[in-house]
Symmetry: C4
Subunit: 235 residues, 4 copies
């Protein structure tokens, strides 16, 4: 395999892991910045991640126009991906999903915060973006670059943002990094919901989150989890 073929293979594995771990269902998508050209990114055509094959992967410019769509239908919400790659040069992979554990935190006043060490990678507190604030009544989809840029601004430098009545977007330094953050975002949301039922909760201390964030940026431990999740996903 060439380096590019291998990178695209990793992107396909990312699709399958997200499906296997129930982070995405019929909807949701994961992209990867072109490893050799920062002004381009790769994303599947409009298929459910569980079914995505290497042949479904297309190339896009940062304005989310497709270089060559080969007659395939495209995801409507490409601007989520393009806008984040444009706003943040360090980001190499973006995931958008409707993970059911996460959605309740986007429609309530309870902030989603890391409660377990493996989820410190979601950051100190996850912000919520509401498309209604700047765009009024819509179909809720992020279908224009204006909307994508508004989302990117609200996300700041963080790895995750919730979208009211919709889902979440995750940004990572690699496909593996983004996938792990999306998986543990979901784990944390479920744990936090359960813990809040038991009364007052101790979240991770800010210093602990900082130490863990520095650690996860070095990808320590990812090899084991990536091997495990790939195998579960049949890759």
């Amino acid at each position: 395999m060439t380096a590019l073929t291998e990178a695209i293979d990793t992107l396909v594995t990312g699709n399958r892991i997200l499906a296997r771990e129930n982070v995405v269902d019929a909807f949701g998508h994961i992209s990867m910045r072109h490893p050799d050209d920062p002004s381009r990114y790769f994303l599947a055509c409009s298929r459910s991640p569980e079914l995505v094959e290497a042949d479904d992967i297309l190339e896009f410019a940062l304005d989310s126009k497709c270089i060559d769509d080969r007659g395939k239908t495209l995801y409507i919400e490409r601007p989520i991906h393009g806008s984040l790659y444009q706003a943040r040069p360090e980001i190499m992979s973006v995931i958008h999903n409707h993970s059911t554990a996460v959605i309740p935190f986007g429609v309530s006043k309870t902030p989603l915060r890391p409660i377990v060490h493996v989820a410190a990678r979601i950051g100190h507190e996850v912000p919520v973006w509401d498309i209604y604030d700047n765009f009024g009544d819509t179909d809720i989809l992020v279908s224009t670059n204006d909307q994508g840029q508004d989302l990117a601004r609200a996300m700041g430098n963080g790895p995750v943002i919730l979208m009211r009545g919709h889902g979440a977007t995750v940004a990572g330094l690699s496909v593996q990094d983004a996938v792990m953050t999306a998986v543990y975002l979901q784990v944390n949301a479920q744990l936090q919901m359960d813990a809040l039922r038991l009364g007052e909760v101790t979240y991770l201390h800010p210093g602990e989150v900082d130490i863990r964030l520095a650690r996860s940026q070095k990808f320590v431990g990812n090899d084991r989890a990536w091997e495990y999740m790939s195998r579960r996903a049949g890759r």
Copy 2:
């Protein structure tokens, strides 16, 4: 395949998807209006949807009498289907189920309302029908045309109605439309239960629901979800 064989094949796929997504279990059923004769509809004989084959599909008049039962046992609750096709010419598919996420909303005072964009297709607020109101103590089953017509009246022009202590009924413009509504009704019910645990909830804005309803009536996006769910259901 002829057009009719293909339509019946789609109805079988609908049965299997509903089973795979846990919208139905041993009980529950899905019907389709005859594509060429609006005074007839198709529905399986009395088998669990997971096991339904093309050969199990029978033809019914709108009073829910079977044209030729070939010696097979029939579902008791056929009047749900016939009454809806009679009352609403635009409806092409009907689903009745006992989806466990939905039942709690039928026995409590909390209205089921769309909380996430993909579930806007359930309408602004889901009404609840109680068979006890007009029929007193029964076995709860909708076993007469009188009961079916009462249910259809309570449903109005909406896509969904809950049935107290029983389940839900969904009406769609196609098999695909009805299946998607039944699946996302269940998703929304689960999400709403989880979100309500976290405190005050922001539901979709009325304008957002209207825009999404208009969108789902054009079936945009259904191809992706239908392909995904068919594959998961082994079709």
Copy 3:
């Protein structure tokens, strides 16, 4: 197959269905009164229901002594079965389980009551038996005929009893009847827990429960559910 071989085959299927539907796990068991001799019953040796084969089925007297144990280890809690067959001639099958949805109702003050039509077969309200009341500190297991008879008395004429800190016991007019009651007991417990989160709940009306109980005693509808659950259980 002879009638007896067939009956034992049904008992094996009952074991497998209970395992598949998560009503039993490593523990729990189902027995059947001998179809030709009311003073005997059949029950597996000490194996988990998912693994039980026809060859594991042994014959017992109503004092729960084994007729011929063929060197196999026996379940300790046989007195649950023998005591119920002794106390109630109409009972043809008994299930004991630790179904996780049911246990919370045995340790709290909230009565388990039917909330959905398919669960009316559990009766108007499920009683709770506490082994501590008459036997003080024990290992909680029903290991003597005295304990079994105390449990049978507390159960009265009903189909179900909860056991504090332990599980539930179900009695049926046939293997199929007992299995369906055990499955829908679990479904109802889960639904009731979810519904109570939403506030005040409307349970089935007493008249509805009576009508449904009379109906389920005629086994109407069981063929469809039994076929479905057998297939899911690989039988």
Copy 4:
């Protein structure tokens, strides 16, 4: 098979059961004291338990230094294992996990206590250890022998300890004993969360817990559960 090969095979089965029962995911590990040399223990290299093979098992001294790592990466949290074997000669197996049902009890004020007979083996009340108390801001991992010994001290003579924002550690008299305790710890946590929703809860009486603890130390009943769980785990 020699006795040692067989023991290692049991340790591999323990890994697989913990994975199958969702007690561990990508992370978590189980070790076994060397049956012939109490100053050594066996533990896999850094792989997810679902994937562990006999060839992945390595030998460690009680200071958690590896005797011969054969070039493999090691789990960081080995000191959990070594420190417990050092502190408690009776312990023959140790499990560390991030079981999602258990974590909420480590971050709230609600004590985890046995609510069902099969979970009495977790002891009267499960203590919580917070790494922050003696070590301040860390990455939360138990990566030094000092931290491991602090954890062992907090655990006392009990079979289980929760770790705030992290998971749990379980100690057993055999691999089978530790696995059963870890599985039923998780079952109890889920049941207790559900029961607390229903209001005031009756936990097992102290005398009942004592009787059950004495019973589980004789491994009564374990053969049935071990056979069942091994089969579910594909062993």
